[in-house]
Amino acid sequence: MRYLPLTDADREQMLGVIGAKSVDDLYKDVPGGALLKDLIDLPRVQGELEVHRHMQRLAEKNTPAGRTAFFLGAGAYRHHVPASVDHLIQRSEFLTAYTPYQPEIAQGTLQALYEFQSQVAMLLDMEVANASMYDGSTACAEAAMMAARVTKRKKIAFSGGVHPHYIDTARTACEALGLEIVALPAAVDDEAAVTKSLGADVAAVIVQSPNVFGTITDLTKIGEAARSAGALMVATFTECVSFGLIEPAGAYGADIVCGEGQSIGNALNFGGPYVGLFATKEKYIRQMPGRVAGETVDADGQRGFVLTLSTREQHIRREKATSNICTNSGLCQLAWTIHMTLLGEQGLKRLAHLNHEKAVALADALGKVKGVEVLTNRFFNEIAIRVPGDAQKIVDTLAEQGVIAGVAISRLNPKAGMDDILITCATEMNTDADIAAYADALKKVIA
C-alpha cells in the first residue's frame, strides 16, 4: 500500500527485536473473540486513479454554485478567495503541523494566530479575540454558556433575528447544562424585542446584525438595557465581510461578539469546515473558551509567541474548564488571516462596498417583479422577500432553471409561520446578468 513504508522484511526484523512471533502477539490483551480473524467486508486497496475517478463521479452528481445564478447566503457566503490563500495553507509546514505545543518549532503557526486574534479584534472593534472556534453556531453556543458563567444566571434570550441553526445549536448545548433558552418569534426587523425578556435571571440577550433576514440594527439601546439588567449583550453574525462597511457590535458595547468567519478565506465546502470568530472584553478573558496565543520572549530575549492562559482549558482544568474544545479550526483561521492580510482595510472596505451595491441592485430588480415584496429596509448583502405562494416550491422550481434563489425561511424554521418568505443574497461574485436572470425567472415562475 503506497502510504505504508514497512516491507515484510522490516516487519520480520522488527518482530525479532521486539521478541514477538507475530503481530497478533502484540494484540494479546484483546479479549477472546474480539480480535478479527478475517478482513472486514469492504472494498480492497485501490490506486489513486480509481479513487479519484470515484470521487469525481460523486462530485459531478452535485450542481456547483458557480454553474448557476447563485444568490444563497443564510450563514455561508460565496466570495472570491485569492489563489495565493489556498496555495499557502497547503504548504506542508502549515497543513501537516499539529497544535503548537512546542513553540520553539511552531512560531509560524503561533505568529499567524497572534495576527489573527489582532485582526479579529480590530474587525469587530473588541479588546481581545481567541484563536478560533469550530464555526459561528458553536461559537454562539459557547458565548451563551460563557455569559451564564460570568453572570451566574441561567436564562438566555435570543432575538427573532438570529439564525435558526444557531438557536438550535445553542439550545442543544445550553439545555444540557440546565440553562433555559428563550427564543423570540422570528422577526425581520425587531432585534430590540429581546429586551422585553430581560429580568434578574437573564444571563444574556443574544442578537444578530446583519440578522438572518439581512437587517442591520443599531444595538446601542439593547446593550444599555442588558447592562442595566445585569445581563451581557452577546452579538452574533454570519457575514463578517459586512464589518468593512457597517458598524460592528463592538462599537455598540457588546460584551461578546461571535460568529462565522467563512466569508473570508474559505470556500463554501457544503457547510464545513468553517471558522468561528470569538471576541470579548479583557475583563472576561479568564472565562473565555478556546485557545489563545500570547506574546513572550525566549531565553535570548527575542520576541516569540506561545499558547497561553491554558488554565482555562480542558487539558489543565478538566471538568472545570471553560469549554471542552481542543482541536479548533486552525487551517481555516490561517486562510482567514492570509485573505485579510491581502485585503487590508482598503480592500475589505472596497469588497464590502461591492457586496452592498450588488445587493441593492438585487433588491431593486426583485422589488420590480410583480407580486414580490422586499421586506428588508436596512441591509448589507442579504435581504428577505415575500413571494406569492410557497417559497420552498419557488426555490425548488428556480433551481431546475439554474437559479439558486436563496433559502425559504420554512426550511430553516418550519414554525416561523413565514412560508412565503425567502432570504436571498448577492456578493461580488454575482454579475448583473445573474441578477437579471434571477428576476426574469422569478417573474415567469410567479406568473
Binding site: 455561508a76 499539529y98 475589505l348
Partner: protein, 539 residues
C-alpha cells in the same frame, strides 16, 4: 534565535515582523473594481472609525507566510511522535479530492436535488465507519473529537430521559488517565464526574468500576486503547457491568488507529464512540484543526442521534434495515455493498433538518458537519481498503512496540513489561534524579530535528513521554530516532545537565517563557501599546 547578522536572518531562516509592523491600512494585495457609488441602504449604520487593518501586496503576503511556515515543524519534515495525536502522512490526493468543484463550491442549503452527490459521500462514509466499527449508526456532524464526545454524552442523556431517569442518573465514571476533554465534556453535558483512580498497570479494573456503580450512574467514559497506550483487557466485562447497572458505555475513540480493521468496538459493548477523522483517517491537523468527530452509536442510542439525518428514499428494496433508517446523518446498511456502487441508484437522498417527530436530541452545529473532512476521509479509506486499514493498525502497533523495545533498556518504561498498542509510554523517573526531566528531553530533541513526544500526559504517569510513531514511518526513521534518544540518555548519564537546560540552540527560537506570557497576557497587537521590551526581528 539570537544572531549577529545585520538583516536578522540566519542563512535561509528569515526574520519576519508582524504584518502590523510592515503593512499599512492603504496597502492591499487585491484589485477590486471601483464601486459605482449609488445610494446605500445602510440606514445610517455605516462604520465610523477606521479599522487600522494593515494590507500587504501579494508578493509581501506570500513572503510573510512562507517565511513563517519555515519556522514550523511538520509531518512532511520528519517523525512527529506526538502521543495521542496520530500524526500520520496526509495524502495530497485527499486535498485534491476535497477541492473538486462539485464539493468545494457547494452551499449547504442548496435544494436537495442539487446536492445528491454530497449526500452520497456522507452515506458512503457512514457505511465505511459503521462497518469498520461494527456499529449500526453514526452521527457525522460533530466537528472534532471533543464535539463527538459531547454528541455521545447527549445521546446517553437523551436515552436516560426517554427512560425517565435523566434526573436520577447524573454521575459519569471517568478514569484519571482520561484526556481532559472527557471530564470537560461530561461536565458540559450536565453530568458530575466521578474519577476512577489509576492502577499501577495503567488499566481500569472491573472491581474499581463495580465499587462505583449505583442507581445514579449514567455511564462510563473509557478510552480504548487507553492513553497509556494499552488495550483495556477487561473492556467487555466493564461494559457488561455498566449495562447491568443501567448505564451506558462511552468509548473515546481517539486511539482507534491501533485497532482499525482488527477489532470492532461494536463487539466490545460500546454504546457511543467518536472517531477523530483527523487522526485515524488522516485528515490534516492544519496546526490545530479543523477536524471532524463522527460518533458511532449503538442500537440503544441511535434513535437519539442529532439532526441532520440523511434519508434514502425510496429505500432500495432490502438494502436498508427499515428500523435503522435515518439515524443520524447515517447510512446504516450492513449489507456490505461496495462503496463503489451508488446507494442512490435505487432513489435519491433527502435531508431531515429538524427534530420534530423524532427522538433526536437536537443539533450539534449549523448545517451538516465537516464535509471537507468527509471527502478526505472517504478517499483515504477507499485508498487503503479493508485490507490496507487492517495493515495500518498492525504497522502502527508494530512501530510503537519496536521503539519501545529499543528504548526500554535506556529509559524507564512504566508498562514496558508487556506490549503496547500504537504508542509507547516512557517516563523520566530514570533521568530526573540526574537533573534532566521530560521537558528537557523534549527540548533537546528540537535541536536534533524532531518534534518531541507528548509530554506529561497521561497525568497518571509522572513525567510521561508518550511516543506515537504511527504506521507511516519507515524503519529507517524509527532507528534514527531511537539512536538519538539513546544518545541523549547517554548524555544524561554523562551528567551533561547544562546541555539539556540550554536546549534548544538550533531551533528557530530558544526556550520560550510561558510563565511570562500567562502573567502579563499580550493577546493582540495594538498601535502604540507600550513595548514589551522584547527584541524584535528587523523590520
Amino acid at each position: 534565535m539570537k544572531t549577529d547578522t545585520t538583516s536578522g536572518n540566519r542563512g535561509l531562516l528569515q526574520a519576519e515582523p508582524l504584518i502590523f509592523e510592515t503593512g499599512h491600512a492603504t496597502g492591499t494585495g487585491v484589485d477590486l473594481p471601483e464601486p459605482k457609488g449609488g445610494k446605500d441602504k445602510l440606514g445610517g449604520l455605516a462604520r465610523k472609525a477606521a479599522l487600522d487593518l494593515p494590507g500587504l501586496s501579494e508578493p509581501e503576503t506570500m513572503r510573510h507566510f512562507v517565511r513563517l511556515s519555515q519556522k514550523n515543524y511538520a509531518i512532511d519534515l520528519g517523525l512527529f511522535p506526538l502521543g495521542s495525536c496520530t500524526m500520520k502522512h496526509n495524502p495530497r490526493l485527499n486535498e485534491r479530492v476535497a477541492r473538486l468543484e462539485g464539493f468545494a463550491d457547494l452551499h449547504p442549503l442548496q435544494p436537495t436535488s442539487t446536492i445528491q452527490g454530497a449526500l452520497e459521500v456522507m452515506d458512503e462514509l457512514a457505511h465505511w465507519l459503521c462497518t469498520m466499527t461494527g456499529m449500526p449508526a453514526v452521527a457525522l456532524s460533530p466537528k472534532a473529537g471533543a464535539h463527538g464526545e459531547f454528541c455521545g454524552m447527549l445521546a446517553i442523556k437523551a436515552a436516560l430521559e426517554a427512560r425517565g431517569e435523566a434526573e436520577t442518573r447524573k454521575r459519569v465514571l471517568v478514569p484519571s488517565s482520561a484526556h481532559g476533554t472527557n471530564p470537560a465534556t461530561a461536565a458540559a453535558a450536565g453530568f458530575t464526574v466521578d474519577e476512577i483512580p489509576a492502577r499501577d498497570d495503567g488499566r481500569v479494573h472491573p472491581e474499581d468500576v463495580k465499587a462505583k456503580l449505583g442507581p445514579d450512574v449514567a455511564g462510563i467514559m473509557i478510552t480504548n486503547p487507553n492513553t497509556c497506550g494499552l488495550f483495556e483487557r477487561d473492556v467487555k466485562e466493564i461494559a457488561d457491568l455498566i449495562h447491568t447497572a443501567g448505564g451506558y458505555f462511552y468509548c473515546d475513540g481517539a486511539n482507534y488507529n491501533a485497532i482499525v480493521g482488527k477489532v470492532r468496538p461494536g463487539d466490545l459493548g460500546v454504546d457511543a464512540m467518536h472517531i477523530n477523522l483527523h487522526k485515524t483517517f488522516s485528515t490534516p491537523h492544519g496546526g490545530g484543526g479543523p477536524g471532524a468527530g463522527p460518533t458511532v452509536l449503538s442500537a440503544a442510542l441511535a434513535p437519539f442521534a442529532p439532526v441532520p439525518h440523511i434519508l434514502k428514499r425510496p429505500p432500495p428494496k432490502g438494502e436498508v434495515p427499515s428500523e435503522a433508517r435515518g439515524r443520524g446523518a447515517s447510512a446504516t446498511s450492513r449489507s456490505g455493498r461496495s462503496a463503489a456502487t451508488s446507494p442512490a441508484s435505487g432513489g435519491g437522498y433527502e435531508l431531515r433538518e429538524h427534530t420534530d417527530g423524532t427522538q433526536a436530541f437536537g443539533r450539534m452545529c449549523a448545517f451538516h458537519g465537516q464535509m471537507g473532512m468527509f471527502t478526505r476521509a472517504l478517499a483515504y479509506m477507499m485508498s487503503h481498503g479493508s485490507d490496507g486499514l487492517r495493515q495500518v493498525a498492525e504497522d502502527a502497533v508494530l512501530n510503537a512496540n519496536y521503539l519501545l523495545a529499543r528504548l526500554k533498556p535506556h529509559f524507564s518504561a512504566p508498562f514496558g513489561d508487556g506490549p503496547c498498542m500504537h504508542e509507547a509510554l516512557l517516563d523520566d523517573s530514570s533521568i530526573k534524579p540526574k537533573g534532566v526531566e521530560t521537558i528537557d528531553m523534549a527540548k533537546a530533541l528540537l535541536d536534533e530535528g524532531y518534534h518531541p513526544f507528548t509530554t506529561y500526559f497521561p497525568l497518571v504517569v509522572h513525567g510521561a513521554m508518550l511516543i506515537e510513531p504511527t504506521e507511516t514511518e519507515p524503519k529507517r526513521e524509527l532507528d534514527r530516532f531511537a539512536d538519538v534518544m539513546i544518545a541523549l540518555a547517554g548524555r544524561v548519564n554523562a551528567g551533561d545537565v547544562e546541555f539539556f537546560k540550554q536546549a534548544p540552540k538550533l531551533a528557530p527560537m530558544r526556550r520560550l517563557d510561558e510563565t511570562r506570557a500567562a502573567r502579563q497576557p499580550r493577546l493582540r497587537w495594538k498601535r502604540g501599546q507600550n513595548d514589551s521590551g522584547a527584541k524584535v526581528a528587523a523590520e
